[in-house]
Symmetry: C2
Subunit: 402 residues, 2 copies
């Protein structure tokens, strides 16, 4: 079966999280993603992990998570020979993506204007932390910092808490998604008109756009959100919207008609709160009254009672339990692939289906420069020239059993 982005070549200068996630999404739908890695050591993310542990001795789970469906070439970008290789690759590329701090690509000789002169139809996406210029230009732009400046850390938890960060890379991942959105729209436009262009995305603008509804509310209703003092799930919502302890775990209750809720809980005295304003104003008081009741039965018992009344309810999974969830199993969300060094690894599948051009995981994350020789062959280098590049230390090629 075909893939939607077959025939699209992406020259990928990205590293760490946001850029690699974006280009991986292009690879998942069939683009040929050539990851250009730093000579010698490669993507910095190869050297970072959690718990000080590694997959198969020295592979990073962070790197592996965001670099499937890519081929790697590791080149000394500061050498003349290295530049020549990359300029040659630009000639036939459709998309270039990078996420260095603003100005770095220009200094390396790979800025938009330079590459456009080589390939006028190129689509060039730069993803920065704060934007292309402005007061924070020289500051480090990183996910947790942007969660903080964008106000996202003040939306979760309780009003008695300090800032509460989301424990996954919210801003990196949202900006990866926005970058793909822009790149694909640009590819579509180029297919119609033949015209390429430059795209600039940044973590901060994406993090704010992600909270669009919340900012719209604050700015146009003139009232800001106040975090609850309980487990209410959104600072703008009233009871029962939140998560509640049961006798053996937690359940979550979303917007549900109050009268039915009272029936499910079996305490008629709660009927007095049946008014939207009261449910908002007294949300903490109501929350704890509900939780006193939910603690008396198991999660499964509550699901049966509440789903039977068509209330909006679910269980709460710990992350490690998610793969055993029956719907997750049914959806085939996790799949096994083979990695040359790590053997069998479990990865998250593409999160949607396409009837004609399904996403596909064709390759595990690459070893450093693994595909350098084949990529060089494709652009006309002879085996002798490739050997010379390797022995002259212009390219790095990691091999199995080395």
């Amino acid at each position: 079966m075909k893939q939607a982005l077959e025939g699209v070549k992406v020259l990928d200068f990205t590293q760490l999280l946001q850029g690699p996630y974006a280009t991986q999404m292009l690879g998942d739908l069939g683009a040929d993603v050539i990851k250009v890695e730093r000579h010698g050591s490669g993507d910095i993310y190869r050297g970072m992990t959690f718990f000080n542990k590694w997959v198969a001795e020295d592979e990073s789970p962070c790197f592996m998570a965001w670099n499937r469906n890519k081929r790697s070439i590791s080149v000394d970008v500061k050498s003349e020979e290295g530049k020549k290789i990359l300029y040659k690759l630009v000639e036939t590329a459709d998309v270039v993506m990078e996420n260095f701090r603003p100005g770095v690509m220009e200094r390396l000789g790979f800025g938009y204007e330079t590459l456009k002169a080589i390939n006028p139809k190129i689509i060039y996406c730069s993803a920065s932390g704060w934007g292309d210029d402005g007061p924070y230009l020289t500051r480090p732009g990183q996910d947790l910092l942007v969660q903080s400046v964008s106000g996202a850390v003040m939306t979760s938890g309780k009003s008695t808490d300090g800032p509460v960060a989301l424990g996954t890379a919210l801003c990196d991942q949202v900006n990866a998604l926005n970058s793909v959105y822009a790149i694909l729209a640009a590819l579509f436009y180029r297919e119609r008109t033949g015209i390429g262009q430059e795209i600039k995305s940044n973590l901060l603008s994406s993090a704010i756009a992600f909270q669009m509804q919340d900012f719209f509310t604050i700015q146009n209703l003139g009232q800001t959100f106040t975090r609850p003092n309980s487990g209410i799930g959104h600072p703008g919502n009233g009871a029962p919207f939140g998560t509640y302890e049961t006798s053996d775990g937690y359940i979550t209750i979303a917007m549900s008609p109050w009268h039915k809720m009272v029936t499910a809980l079996g305490d008629e005295s709660l009927e007095v709160y049946n008014d939207p304003q009261t449910l908002y104003d007294k949300r903490d008081e109501i929350y704890y009254k509900i939780e006193a009741i939910t603690k008396t039965k198991t999660t499964d018992e509550w699901l049966e009672i509440m789903l039977g009344l068509d209330l909006w309810v679910s269980k709460v999974n710990n992350q490690e339990d998610v793969e055993q969830d029956p719907q997750v199993i049914h959806n085939k969300t996790f799949v096994d692939i083979e990695h040359p060094k790590a053997g069998n690894v479990k990865v998250t599948n593409i999160p949607f289906t396409m009837s004609e051009t399904p996403g596909k995981i064709s390759r595990p994350s690459p070893m450093l420069g693994e595909h350098g020789p084949e990529i060089l062959q494709e652009i006309g280098y002879s085996q002798d020239e490739i050997n010379a590049l390797e022995s002259n230390n212009i390219i790095t090629v990691e091999r199995l059993n080395k």
Copy 2:
């Protein structure tokens, strides 16, 4: 200036948050989005708000946030005349999107097979809560419920907390982004091959894919994340990664070399922790030692000291302060537009720039069925026929000063 999706017509059957955000993203880049609303009352989201308050009497900030750049037609989809209108619109549409529970569009007569028979090149995207079938098929699929089942609520906050939800619609918004990613890839493919297709996305798979790195780590390192007992920013990270109280607010510190950190804090005794394993194992102890020091100076003082040492640091904004942030002002993140009933409203701009085909906010959110008459004219209805449809209650048209 042109827009990337000019000439693309989207027939939008979506409501509430995730679907409308997706189609708004298409409209932001120039697609003609025709929002098909329930006869009489329209999108349910028009009737929902925060704080029991409204913009300009009865406009919902939730609805307004996700429905700019769309035209609205409000049709009785169960009537024969209503169906005829929609089938006629399908003939010239490029994309159809819907986010009802699975099966609803088929029952209404607008399933993929039916619309494909009318327009074989149609791209049809269905966005559900849990997936197209499986054990949760009949359950309500809503953002907070999916945050819970996907484990996202167990990544934030402290280990002594219950589940902590992100206070914005994480799963809805991520699935909107994934749906746009799939739709644009399908449009690109159709432009090359002439072949349309069906796309199915769902909140649960998107929420899990969003935590791809975290699941990869848990499943392939065989160790799960444990939330800290302090303000550490990610359950897999050690100190100093987190948010800290200052004398007048909060600062956030991301990955920073420990020795420099100790220099900035001015307490040599902290040097003993200078080892990645120790920084992870004793993260809570270290966190509180750092915070005892950060509390002694203002946020601005710390920024000056730490940025001077090239440490990864930022301030923390409350959501209501974000629009005064100098970088946000520089980026022109918020812009004013005119709404026919509400007057001037402030909205979040498109989060990236495109040099050839910039995103543009051309229309405020529509009044219910506001564009029904002009849309009907475009597909050949006469003024008399349109008047008859309105007087026979087949279409609803909200007008100013009515």
